[in-house]
């Protein structure tokens, strides 16, 4: 079982690396936000995997629960941000946005 969990964890980290490509490339901020949100959800799973591998799942499940509760605050903050600031442009064409 431990080998399977380890393999699954390594596969998850590998796929997270691929998701990170979207966070690096992503032409707009929102694309990055989507990628980071996916990575955050997968951290919950990896925390549980770490708990299984340590053989002390009851110690790790609280952290995962905290993550599950808090994970979506940043998305909501970003949504509030873009309600009032319409400044979504690909980074390579600065356009008319206030540059600082």
């Amino acid at each position: 079982m431990n080998t399977f969990i380890t393999a699954a964890g390594v596969a998850l980290i590998g796929l997270m690396l691929l998701v990170l490509i979207r966070a690096i490339k992503g032409p707009t901020v929102i694309d990055r936000l989507v990628a980071i949100n996916v990575i955050g959800t997968k951290s919950i799973v990896l925390l549980l995997f770490a708990g299984i591998l340590f053989g002390q799942l009851e110690m790790f499940v609280d952290i995962a629960l905290g993550y599950g509760l808090l994970n979506y605050i940043v998305s909501i903050a970003a949504s509030r941000y873009y309600q009032h600031r319409k400044s979504l442009e690909p980074e390579h064409s600065p356009g008319g946005s206030p540059v600082s």
Partner: protein, 100 residues
């Protein structure tokens, strides 16, 4: 029971692979959001259910993991909605067939 756990975790990984490919290959923000919002939630829920089946644990621990699933089921679609809202308000343009 353990067999079911292996199947659930593997299926979850396959769904996460789909999410990753969707995030990387889709042409614009809205379609990427489509891949990330659905595949991410489903794969996380499946892997967590797989953990419950795979590892022998007390009912309290299983309840906690079910609570995590519950919170992800509420939080993750809300985050998806908020990000979609943000993209819409910030003016992300949808992809068309004739756009390059």
């Amino acid at each position: 029971m353990g067999f079911l756990g292996y199947i659930l975790i593997s299926t979850g990984l396959v769904f996460f692979l789909g999410t990753t490919i969707g995030l990387l290959r889709f042409p614009d923000f809205y379609t990427r959001m489509h891949a990330a919002g659905k595949g991410d939630t489903l794969s996380t829920v499946m892997i967590l259910l797989g953990c419950i089946c795979l590892v022998s644990m007390s009912w309290l621990l299983a309840l906690k993991i079910l609570l995590i699933i519950n919170f992800i089921f509420i939080g993750s679609p809300t985050a998806t909605h908020a990000m979609m809202d943000a993209g819409n308000k910030a003016g992300a343009t949808p992809w068309r067939k004739d756009s390059k």
